[in-house]
Symmetry: C2
Amino acid sequence: MLPIVKGLLAGERRALARAISIVDNDEPESREIIKQIFSKTGNIRTVGFTGPGGAGKSSLVGKLIPECQALGFKVAVLAVDPTSPITGGAILGDRVRMQGNLGNQKVFMRSMASRGAMGGVSKSLRNAIRILDVAGYNIVLIESVGAGQLEVEISKVADLTVVVFTPHTGDNVQAVKAGLTEIGDIYVVNKADLEGATSLYQTVVDLIGDTNRKPAVLKTSAKTGMGVDELAKNIDKLLKEKTINYKERERKMLEDELTDMILNILEKKVSSMLTQDRKYSEFIDRLARKEIDPYVAAEELAGTLFR
Amino acid sequence: MLPIVKGLLAGERRALARAISIVDNDEPESREIIKQIFSKTGNIRTVGFTGPGGAGKSSLVGKLIPECQALGFKVAVLAVDPTSPITGGAILGDRVRMQGNLGNQKVFMRSMASRGAMGGVSKSLRNAIRILDVAGYNIVLIESVGAGQLEVEISKVADLTVVVFTPHTGDNVQAVKAGLTEIGDIYVVNKADLEGATSLYQTVVDLIGDTNRKPAVLKTSAKTGMGVDELAKNIDKLLKEKTINYKERERKMLEDELTDMILNILEKKVSSMLTQDRKYSEFIDRLARKEIDPYVAAEELAGTLFR
């Protein structure tokens, strides 16, 4: 057993932080770590927080930590940062903001970088969740920065999704545009002390009221703490309801993961073949001269790469 | 030659609208359309507009249309809508909003759906741009809804990228978080009539001032029209500068497209193999029982699929 895995199982914080860095950076050791811990996983529950940038997800998650702890959870927080397309670096906003909670030694908090690769976020998250699982955490709150594809990736790994809106982030049409009204298990109107919160609350209720699912719609204020205990209770209740078949859910998640990983292996193979193969460069020349069209070029090349 | 292609070359609006629907929905005919028009493409210029949701991109693009027309451009607008992960449908917000410009018969406006597939947005956009190109348009303004992966896909097809911020969309940290400070050729602080615009302008100038590129930072108000003519002139100037080598850029774009298309073909192959192959289901069972780990499963399966 790797020393780092021993450290993890013993609940050592440094081993935990290092192990998550390893999987987040996709370092070679991640493979061996996951190999050694995989059979011990399957107990942690995951809650994704999503919604437009500026909805106050970081602050809300910060306030939720003690509420979840009061309900008996050992809490971890993962914040997914967007990757800048140029530098590939993660932005520190969340880390800075979450430092308000540094006094609370029982919680583990981390920003994860999104690597931009197909399924990169999900891959890092899945493995980080496994590490937190064997380190003894039983709930992880996952905060996404911004909307878009990230939501889809987080929904792949979350048992529950909480969608956070706020009267501050543009008009209600924007909220609808973000396409978030169908993915939530719980909806939250945060910054409920602000003007416009009541009408936004009504809009959200109307928008999701037509569905059969009838998810809860709650009002919170991360600033005053209003409604945060209620949110924690709703999360706890949903996680314990019999409607979630965790065994079945885990199987589906493993299926997604396997598909992502196989496609990733193929993507790497194709990229390296394309850059090394002279035929490829000739095709681009012919394309640029408009002698062939992209469909023909792609099919001919795909045909030569794999039978 | 297909009748629809004849219609396109003759500048018929109905043929144009239909052809774009065909490529956006990835209907079988799209292949033949692109085949027949590909050799005639390469004249249109593309400008992507990006930034947080609620920054007023739709309205700004609306105001830009007559300014670009005044500079001699024949203008088309494509708005990329997010796809809801469940229904797969596009949301009509932009279409509704853009109707304010319906009286202007010279402009062509369309919402495109994002299909969610890897490279789906780029594929639809590339082909829609080709269709607009042969239909005689010489500039297309591409508006993305929301931030995230979409930006990356749009930057793949845009000659220039305009990043739009506004004092309304949360604090400045959020703007930085969105990772947009490195991708712009022009930065715009929109809603410049609102409180906070001056300080946001200064923040943007500071954030991007450290780079070597020194992109322009402009203030606009789509509401009052302030600064929109200046923005049009800056776009025009940049498009005509010798720093953009369009031949080289086109070659790079074709290379990206070809890679996307090959990976897409492989993705389809893999998905169908995985769902039909009994071996795959057995692997998932073994994974769910934790007898093997995901790395081993993915490598063994990838190995059996392709030599």
